[in-house]
């Protein structure tokens, strides 16, 4: 499995875990809303059901009160007929009013139930009939016709009406009692349903909570696994880089070794010198590589300034001459890898050239090397104190390999090579633009 596949797989796992968590969250919120709606509905329904029970009770109390008021009115009526006491009249009046009020209330309360309403109206009529009879009795007594009043009682009209009242009350109350029982049962059922709904709700919520916790855990595990993979890949890459780095330097060493041995075994000094130059070039490239990749911490940056100073010192020292003074004027100049090798080779050629032609062995010389940034250009200049370049010297002639190499590499860097004679010696100047990267 290659890197892309591994990363893709991890990415999909994480994506899937996130989507699951999101769906779970959405489901939880929806379930919460649903559960609250259901519980709210149940509560309203239950409230309504208990209201109905209370209503039925009120009707039943009203009916029973009508009966009681009528009985009291009868008792007060009898007392009055027997004693003519005004207290009894007062009692009769109170009971009369109470019976009328209560029967009106019952009529009002039963308006939602047509058959009961009819029953209540009948009860109301009977109540009024009974009260009218009682009033007539009191009226007769009041007029001094006590016998007539007693005759009215004896006629049994009142008793008959009262019997009808009791029957009517029994019917009404029977129906209401049935209704009450029914409504109580409904309220109890609703109570049970509500309790069950709450239980289901609690269980569902608990389940969602546990599932969410588990999902979070899965997410965390996937994340940890991904991090582990990435660490592994990074480690692999670091090892690979170190391996390649090692191989490159070993290969350069092999080439350098062969060239050095060739140089040593040749009898021709011209060939030996050429091979030594090649050796110098190989070593210069090796140094660039060392500077770029040698530091495990930060790969990719190349400080041309310190490289230039180091290389110049090395090349001057390798001449074995005490009378060459080296002056370096360099600033830290970080180049990218693409610019590093060409510039290193240019510096190697120009410094070697200056030491060879610009420092005649018969007198002390000074070599000046400068590497600076001017505006948007880098400028490398190397000045010697030799005899200067010959009058006809031109880059176009490209007679020496070294100059052709420097010219080609300068152009590779997008820059140019120029040379001029000073009062003493010559200055080689390479200017190239700063990296766009």
């Amino acid at each position: 499995m290659d890197e892309g596949e591994v990363e893709g797989l991890r990415g999909r796992d994480r994506q899937a875990a996130r989507e699951r968590a999101f769906r779970l969250l959405a489901a939880t919120v929806a379930a919460l809303f649903g559960a609250f709606a259901i519980l709210g509905g149940l509560l309203v329904w239950y409230d309504n059901a208990t209201g109905m029970v209370l209503h039925t009770r009120e009707v039943r109390e009203g009916i029973s009160d009508v009966h009681q008021a009528l009985s009291e009115a009868e008792a007060a009526h009898r007392l009055y007929l027997l004693t003519r006491t005004p207290v009894a009249l007062g009692q009769l009046n109170d009971a009369d009013q109470r019976a009328r009020r209560r029967v009106t209330e019952v009529e009002f309360l039963t308006r939602d139930n047509p058959s009961q309403q009819r029953g209540a109206q009948a009860l109301s009529d009977l109540t009024r009939q009974r009260l009218a009879l009682l009033e007539r009795g009191v009226g007769l007594a009041h007029e001094g016709r006590g016998e007539d009043a007693l005759a009215l009682v004896r006629s049994g009209q009142g008793t008959a009406v009262m019997r009808a009242v009791r029957e009517q009350i029994a019917v009404l109350d029977g129906v209401e009692a049935h209704l009450e029982a029914e409504r109580r049962a409904r309220a109890a059922t609703l109570r049970l349903v509500g309790a069950l709904a709450l239980l289901v709700f609690a269980v569902a919520l608990g389940w969602l909570f546990i599932k969410a916790l588990r999902d979070i855990n899965v997410d965390r595990e996937v994340e940890a696994e991904t991090a582990e993979r990435l660490r592994g890949l990074l480690q692999q890459r670091t090892l690979l880089l170190a391996e390649v780095n090692h191989r490159v330097k070993n290969s350069l060493q092999q080439i350098a070794s062969v060239v050095r041995m060739q140089s040593r075994t040749t009898d021709d000094p011209v060939v030996a010198s050429a091979l030594d130059k090649t050796l110098g070039r190989i070593v210069a490239v090796g140094r660039v590589h060392e500077q770029i990749y040698g530091n495990a911490g930060k790969v990719g940056d190349f400080d041309a300034g310190s490289y230039a100073a180091g290389l110049a010192r090395e090349l001057v020292d390798s001449m074995g001459r005490e009378d060459i003074t080296l002056e370096t004027d360099v600033e830290p100049l970080v180049l990218d890898m693409a610019q590093a090798a060409p510039l290193a080779l240019i510096m190697n050629e120009l410094i070697t050239n200056a030491l060879k032609y610009g420092c005649p062995p018969d007198r002390p010389c000074r070599l000046r090397i400068s590497l600076r940034t001017v505006g948007d250009h880098h400028r490398l200049s190397i000045s010697d104190e030799g005899d200067g370049v010959p009058a006809g010297f031109s880059m176009a002639s490209k007679t020496s390999l070294g100059m052709r190499v420097v010219d080609a590499l300068s152009r590779q860097l997008g820059g140019s090579l120029s040379v001029e004679n000073n009062a003493v010696g010559a200055t080689f100047l390479v200017e190239f633009p700063r990296s766009v990267a």
């Binding site: 090692h246 092999q254 190989i282 040698g294 020292d317």
Partner: protein, 118 residues
């Protein structure tokens, strides 16, 4: 000085041997891996060793250098394509004569040996 070379690449070993002779030293033995390197050192008792870090048969130049130092008191000059800061720190206890990055130049080798002889 009598010097032991332990380097798995034959061409590079040859080049180093030649350079050492040019610089006026004697190569007392050459080896490609840590085992033969240790044997050669025990037989020839060199003054110092030039050691590559990665050796043939998957052996480790650093361990060899440690053994040479502890058993025979022979100090080492490391020549390698992969010298890390961690390796330098690791080897500090056995007083290495230096660390040369490949590709090596004659001048660097000469300087390191002068330091060792001093």
């Amino acid at each position: 000085m009598r010097i032991l070379i332990v380097e798995d690449d034959a061409l590079i070993a040859l080049d180093i041997a030649w350079l050492l002779q040019d610089l006026g030293h004697e190569v007392c033995a050459e080896a490609a891996d840590a085992f033969t390197g240790l044997e050669a050192a025990e037989q020839t008792k060199p003054d110092m060793a030039v050691i590559d870090i990665r050796l043939a048969r998957n052996t480790d130049g650093g361990k060899l250098a440690r053994t040479l130092y502890c058993r025979l008191g022979v100090r080492s000059l490391f020549v390698s394509g992969s010298i890390t800061e961690a390796f330098r720190k690791d080897m500090a206890a056995i007083e290495p004569l230096g660390f040369l990055a490949k590709p090596i130049s004659r001048r660097h080798l000469d300087e390191a040996l002068r330091g060792a002889a001093a």
